[in-house]
Symmetry: C2
Subunit: 207 residues, 2 copies
């Protein structure tokens, strides 16, 4: 959040900002909308850390929700409404949400801004992982157990083939690999290259 | 158009700007969008003088159409799209148009602005005229024969009761009034008060 950033700067602490550039884009978009007098609606889970952070940049002038009725039920609908998305939402779901908000919230003298803040890299990664899962008889998804996008990848792949979510190479049980001909690997958006290399080496050693 | 305005100013001709404030708002909106790098889509009949004028303020960076497919069929869809409306369009039709454009034109990194430039006075006037026509056994719509909103009023009323579009009091034929108990009067958005008074006096004299 901007408050945290300011505090860190005030204490002269050196930081390395590891915020994903797409999340940063969503944050900047929220701030730009709020500063232009728009009420910011973030399409996403209000409890998700990224969503909380993006909303923080709207300086209190916004909400996060996955349900368009939440906005429709306001006592007074804002005339200026800016709609953006958590970076990991599905594009088609976001546009449906935006269209429903037009039905609910676009009235006399309204101005509505809809801005794509979705990370299409993640969408591509999901599509590629699904395609790979379709050909594999075992999938490994490498990433944090608390990462939403890693979980989503594992969820998608497990619908297609047997899938394990692992955080490190150590978690691979050799018996899993018996009789497998094609093993697929994918990883979450923030998984370190080092971790992926270790998994690859372990698999090479075991097969 | 801005060009015409500039030429008039260059020749030091005194002008009285009689542009309707709602049309002016649409013009300014088109200019603001174009200057911010948005491709302007005006929802309206491309041949209508108002629509041509509004588009003129977009400085060549826009189109006017009533058909969302016209925009969808572009070779390259603009990423930044500003959607506004001719002031006399029906609000529900405009929002349907905007929603279809979201389907067609909202893609990766898109920013879409939808701005209400409809004159809701005209909508109220139409609703009031329709209500009156429902109670009247004769309606007069006073306004120019070349005015789109006057024609629209006459069209709406004639579906409900016998209706005459007149430009001046002189056009009233006394036989029209025989046996009428309730005569309704409405007028186009730009009809002079004087003309309306003359019609009222003529009707009082004849009934």
């Amino acid at each position: 959040s901007p408050e945290l950033e300011a505090e860190i700067k005030a204490r002269h602490i050196d930081i390395i900002d590891t915020t994903c550039p797409f999340v940063h884009r969503a944050q900047v978009t929220a701030r730009r909308l709020a500063q232009s007098g728009f009420f910011v609606v973030v399409y996403g889970d209000a409890d998700h850390p990224e969503v909380k952070s993006v909303l923080g940049w709207a300086d209190g002038n916004g909400v996060a929700t996955l349900d368009e009725k939440f906005v429709a039920n306001f006592d007074r609908l804002p005339h200026r409404l800016g709609i953006l998305s958590q970076t990991t939402q599905i594009p088609a779901h976001f546009t449906e949400f935006a269209k429903k908000l037009i039905d609910f919230a676009f009235t006399m003298d309204s101005e509505l801004r809809v801005i794509d803040t979705i990370c299409h890299d993640i969408r591509k990664r999901q599509a590629a992982a699904l395609e790979m899962a379709g050909r594999a008889d075992l999938m490994f998804v490498i990433g944090g157990r608390t990462s939403a996008n890693t979980h989503r990848l594992a969820e998608l792949c497990s619908a297609v083939t047997e899938t394990y979510l692992i955080e490190t190479a150590d978690e691979i049980h050799p018996p899993w690999l018996q009789g497998r001909r094609y093993i697929g690997i994918t990883s979450g958006a923030s998984t370190a290259e080092q971790t992926i290399s270790e998994v690859l080496m372990k698999l090479e050693a075991l097969t």
